[in-house]
């Protein structure tokens, strides 16, 4: 890595691509987990990668992290994640799942270890994060609650000055206090314009306010890939009275659901002024958008 200092430590500019994939494909024996995916993720974004179970989220993340073989072109921070993995991990962090910290590890040893291994780790930062929790340096991971393990992992990861942070279901199985705190710390104490975060989760409601970009993945294909602003412009929800049902259906809504005798229609790319005549206009939640987009996935 000393051989080419110019590429390794350049400050990321706004138009630098953190992830660039072309025709990214991953086949298993009987299924295709990723089907010719093209993807560009610029710096300074928080991208939500949302999809039903088995849609290919984890496969995509594994490819980005260099943990799995794949077909097609993929570059992460300008490097090939398969062949330059060790180098890449200087700039990329991930929390793969809850509770993957080894159970025998002592908290203090964990901090020493990461400090010894990672050149971009700040012990001061890590200890400051840990000071806000009830975690003690002498405790072993196996003595910590699930929520505390995540706090420890987050403290270790947030103390690393990396360009890309990948989170795969980081808050699965945690109570709401830990979940809220997790995303709050991430946003307030970690994220800035030089960092990029990719997060997958099923708890869509909890991340929708922190995302800058939204990707829906279904059957190995990206079915939506847009910034949150674009999503807001494209999709609208209208609450329509029974008298205007036919007019609403004529505009080919994505979905329709009944609430208190009225129907809520979700539209993609229909002029908002036109929709306003049908009834009350809302911004759809990501959860509703997700349900409408993924219709028939498990059928």
């Amino acid at each position: 890595m000393d051989a080419n200092p110019s590429s390794a430590d350049e400050p990321s500019s706004a138009n630098e691509l953190i992830v660039r994939a072309r025709g990214l494909t991953k086949r298993y024996a009987t299924t295709i987990a990723l089907d010719h995916v093209d993807l560009d993720i610029p710096a300074g974004r928080i991208v939500g990668l949302i999809g039903p179970n088995g849609a290919g989220k984890t496969t995509a993340l594994k490819a980005i992290l260099g943990l799995a073989e794949f077909e097609g072109e993929l570059s992460v921070l300008g490097r090939n994640p398969r062949t330059q993995r060790t180098d890449l991990m200087q700039q990329v962090c991930f929390i793969a799942d809850v509770a993957v910290l080894p159970r025998w590890l002592r908290v203090g040893d964990a901090v020493d270890f990461v400090e010894g291994i990672h050149p971009r780790f700040s012990r001061e930062k890590c200890e400051a994060f840990l000071a806000r929790t009830k975690i003690k340096p002498t405790q072993r991971v196996r003595e910590l609650s699930k929520g505390m393990v995540v706090q420890l992992h987050l403290a270790l990861v947030m103390a690393i000055d990396a360009k890309l942070l990948v989170l795969d279901e980081p808050t699965l199985g945690l109570d709401i206090l830990y979940r809220k705190e997790f995303y709050q710390s991430l946003l307030n104490d970690y994220f800035d314009e030089n960092k990029t975060i990719i997060v997958t989760t099923h708890q869509v409601e909890e991340v929708e306010h922190i995302l800058t970009d939204l990707i829906f993945i279904k059957d190995g294909k990206l079915v939506l890939n847009a910034s949150m602003d674009q999503v807001g412009e494209r999709y609208s929800e209208v609450m329509v009275g029974p008298d205007k049902f036919d007019a609403a259906r004529a505009l080919r809504p994505l979905s329709e659901r009944q609430v208190f005798g009225k129907s809520i229609f979700l539209f993609d790319g229909v002029d908002q002024a036109q929709l306003a005549q049908l009834g009350e206009l809302h911004k759809p939640s990501i959860a509703d958008l997700f349900v409408a987009t993924m219709k028939g996935t498990y059928a």
Partner: protein, 345 residues
Amino acid sequence: MNPNAITTNPSLRTFGWLVKREYWEHRNGFLRAPLIIAAVLIFIVLAAFITADVTAHRHGINISGLNISQLAEKMSPEAAEKFALGLDAGMLGMSAPIMVGLTFVMFFYLLGALYDDRRDRSVLFFKSLPISDVSTVLSKVAAAVLLAPAIAVVACIALQLAFLILTSIYALLHGTNVLPLLWRPTHLFAIWFKLVLMIPLNALWALPSVGWLLLCSSFVRSKPFLVAVLLPLLVGFVVGWINLMQSLALPSSWYWRYIFGRIEFSLWPGSWLFSSFANNAINVSNSGDNINIGMAKTDFLNALVSFDSMLGVLASPELWIGAVAGVAMIAAAIHFRRSRTEAYS
């Protein structure tokens, strides 16, 4: 204590932390096991002394220093030499329980080294750090063949010292001075030097087992023990069966000796002393006209663990062919480590 201070080379520093990591995880096997075995042996020695005293007291026998101290003074040079050789053999033999423990610790450590962290998914934590798969696997090799045996050797030396000290104190309490008889620094240092020299020789010889166990550990989705032990057993039976049917050029005993034996049993410290080259030393000792069978045995052990037979193994092709096979299997384990992150429990 802090590896950062020892070296500024980043990859060496990482390697140091990786070995330390192995030690943290396996402190019980690497450190506690040899210490506990040594403590048990010392306890047995103490118990023997106390039993001897209590029994003697009960039967009114008075142990006086007369016999042994006179024995030491009146011993002929040849007899003294034989006694010293017997003591040397005893000192080496005393290490055997620790070495047996070490073998089991190494076996199960290597079998789990690239499997346990896949099973509990903590491999994903280590993979999230800038650590190459090469250094990960090599750190485990180093922990198994250098760190664990080094700790075991320290425990052996501590045990031998404790034995000598306890025996001397016991004898002194009974009015006998055995110091000139027991404490022969040149012999002690030679034994310790042999124990230390055994570490790299054992490591070289163990490579086929190390490679095989790590390879199994790196690729199995579950039950590494079945694949590592039962599979070669099964293959051996099949080979034997085919031999019966077709009488191949190589007898199945070749398989058991050179494949099965080398991938399953090469971790045993000093097992290489019994390999073909060392047979010379054994023949020499067997051809001696010892009448006393007990003395023949100590001669045998001393001849077996002589510098000649130890260094002689370096000239044996079996050592080097096995080492090459071991390195190849370690390379294969590194390859599997790159992409296998999953396992079932």
